[in-house]
């Protein structure tokens, strides 16, 4: 850079505004600032509500400036507002109410349309089945339930489960067995909880007494659920036996010289450790999901339902701890079964919270869980006690009476209620694949609880 230019720059830095001129500009600027306050800036810092109000006000100001489209715009806003309100209100409609068809034909069909994947479709169909049951339980609780409504609800319930089964059949064909197992487990938890709720209502423990014909329908529905649970249980036992037989026959082919060594065969059927660990992760995810769900719903359900759900979760966690010990001991099969049981316990806890909020918001809702471990077999039973605060002895007497009524024989009835979880968890593969599905499960359960 040239010397002259450097000198020029050095001296140019001495160029300044005259002091008087600078103050004059400063004063005039301050006046300008006072005349032009931060009106817009204040508006931009308003809360969402204020900004929304401003937005709506601006729309109406715009309309008021243009009289011609005023009527059209007002009509459009009115129609949009009314349809939105109707759709939202329809979500809480019950059978027989004016908005119930909107709920079934519009809201639910839109959600069906939006459920694009097979997983989402099955989840939504199960949720719809659950909704139908919750509806009749709500009606029964208020004494407004009619026998025809129960029949219609049962038909819808069957229809939704049928749809879910059809979609599932396709998925199963693609070898997504782990997911199919999870769906079966979800349906099992749903049936268990609703069977007990229906049982309670059938005993006349709702807010208002039921008509005899309605009671008959509800008993029939409850019996239907019991049979389904029993059937599912039988299928699992059968699958277990078949798996065992095929394993034995394979061993016979592998060891033609000594096919009778059962001990050796049992060792060959031990699940690999990754399978058990995959199930462990799935169970832990499920428990975490239900914990979050519980926190979310705590304020909306009765204290008894919360404590019962917490107890089920604690049992699920105990089951996981037990399963971990089994893995360390090298018993992957038992560990797998225990993790599967933890999942079922967590699912039941979640379903209970959903139903408790919808149907029995203020009741002394209480589930009793009985878990017996005998060898490799675990039995799991859920029942609902009376909403009235009976003492323990009264409850025991009642249980005996109910067993007599429901099953025609106390022991048989109890057997029907039981689900052998080790059967459900037997020899399933691809549990690691299921972890990715847990998020979908979360979504569905959350939606279900909020609806």
């Amino acid at each position: 850079m040239r010397k002259e230019f450097k000198e020029f720059l050095k001296n140019s830095k001495k160029i300044k505004l005259d002091a008087g001129e600078k103050n004059r500009i400063r004063d005039s600027l301050l006046l300008y600032v006072k005349d032009h306050p931060l009106i817009k800036a204040e508006a931009s810092n308003q809360g969402f509500t204020e900004r929304s109000a401003t937005f709506v006000r601006n729309i109406f100001e715009y309309i008021s400036l243009r009289p011609a489209p005023k009527l059209v715009a007002t009509l459009l806003i009115g129609v949009f507002g009314l349809s939105t309100m109707a759709t939202v209100a329809a979500e809480n409609a019950l059978p027989g109410e004016f908005l119930h068809p909107v709920k079934i034909k519009v809201n639910e069909n839109i959600r069906s349309f939006l459920a694009r994947s097979s997983y989402a479709k099955v989840d939504w169909e199960i949720e719809r089945a659950n909704r139908r049951l919750v509806e009749i339980e709500k009606l029964a609780d208020s004494g407004k339930l009619r026998a025809e409504t129960v029949k219609e609800a049962e038909q819808s319930f069957e229809g939704h489960l049928q749809k879910a089964t059809e979609v599932m059949a396709k998925v199963e064909a693609k070898k997504h067995e782990a997911w199919a197992d999870e769906v079966k487990s979800t349906v099992g938890a749903l049936l268990l909880v609703h069977q007990d709720v229906l049982g309670e209502i059938g005993q006349g423990l709702g807010e208002k007494p039921l008509k005899a014909e309605v009671k008959t329908e509800l008993d029939s529905l409850q019996q239907n659920f019991k049979e389904r649970i029993q059937e599912a249980n039988d299928n699992l036992v059968k699958e277990k036996e078949e798996a065992h037989e095929s394993s034995v026959s394979l061993r016979a082919l592998d060891n033609p010289e000594d096919p009778t060594k059962e001990g050796k065969g049992d060792e060959q059927r031990i699940l690999p450790q990754p399978a058990a660990e995959g199930k462990l992760r799935a169970a832990e995810n499920k428990i975490e999901e239900v914990k979050k769900f519980l926190e979310l719903k705590k304020s909306r359900v009765g204290a008894d339902a919360v404590s019962e759900a917490e107890r089920l979760l604690t049992s699920a966690q105990d089951s996981i701890a037990e399963g971990r010990a089994k893995i360390n001991a090298g018993d992957n099969n038992d560990a797998f079964t225990l993790f599967q049981r933890a999942i079922l316990l967590a699912q039941t806890s979640q379903r209970l919270l959903g139903v408790a909020r919808e149907v029995l918001p203020l009741s002394s809702f209480k589930l009793e869980e009985k878990i017996r471990t005998e060898g490799n077999e675990t039995e799991f039973k859920v029942r609902i006690e009376s909403r009235n605060n009976h003492d323990e002895e009264e409850d025991d007497e009642k249980e005996e009476e109910l067993s007599g009524k429901e099953g025609g024989g106390g022991e048989e009835s109890n057997d029907q209620d039981e689900i052998r979880e080790d059967d459900q968890g037997e020899d399933r593969e691809g549990d690691r694949d299921r972890e990715g599905r847990d998020s979908d499960g979360d979504r569905r359960e959350d939606n279900g609880g909020e609806d």
Binding site: E4, E7, F8, L9, I15, R26, L29, S44
Partner: protein, 176 residues
């Protein structure tokens, strides 16, 4: 004091502080761009009015210096467009002389520097602008690029060429 008042005061305080800090450098920059004291003062005032209008709409300014120079540059360009291009001869005919307005009067005595100022006036506006921003206002190439809306590479080339041309003018002056 509620939040709105506090916020408003903060914005006002920032604005006044910016005026106190940058009014003189902006005036210097404007003066060496337009070589007219009154016009330079008007440009400074108008710059701050525009900045306040921007702030009052709830906008935030992260780098006051760059923003002020950007507004000033836009105003100078707008001003030159309004007045069209006026040749140096025409300006001289009208009595406009590129003079430096310094308080102490010492600068006027420095003949070489005065010549440099006059020669700077002969330099093309696009070169004069970037050279002033770089060497007088101490703006970085990155800041100049942002202010002018050009790439950093472009600005570097312009600075280089501008200095070269200024040297040629100064050489020519010496020869004459």
């Amino acid at each position: 004091m509620n939040c709105r008042k506090a916020m408003r005061k903060t914005t006002e305080a920032q604005f006044v502080e910016a005026y106190d800090n940058y009014a003189d450098p902006l005036f210097r920059h404007c003066y060496l761009r337009v070589f007219n004291k009154d016009l330079a003062q008007d440009l400074v005032q108008e710059t701050f009015i525009k900045v306040w209008n921007y702030l009052s709409r709830g906008n935030e300014i992260r780098n006051f210096k760059s923003f002020l120079y950007q507004v000033t540059d836009n105003l100078i360009i707008d001003n030159s467009r309004k007045r069209k291009t006026i040749s140096l001869d025409l300006l001289k005919e009208k009595g406009v002389e590129p003079r430096l307005n310094v308080d102490d009067g010492k600068f006027a005595a420095l003949i070489d520097a005065k010549r440099a100022a006059e020669n700077l006036f002969l330099l093309d506006e696009s070169y004069r602008k970037v050279i002033l921003m770089r060497y007088l206002d101490d703006l970085s190439v990155k800041e100049i690029a942002k202010i002018c809306g050009e790439t950093e590479n472009n600005i570097s080339v312009k600075i280089h060429r501008g200095l070269k041309k200024l040297n040629e003018i100064l050489d020519h002056e010496k020869r004459v």
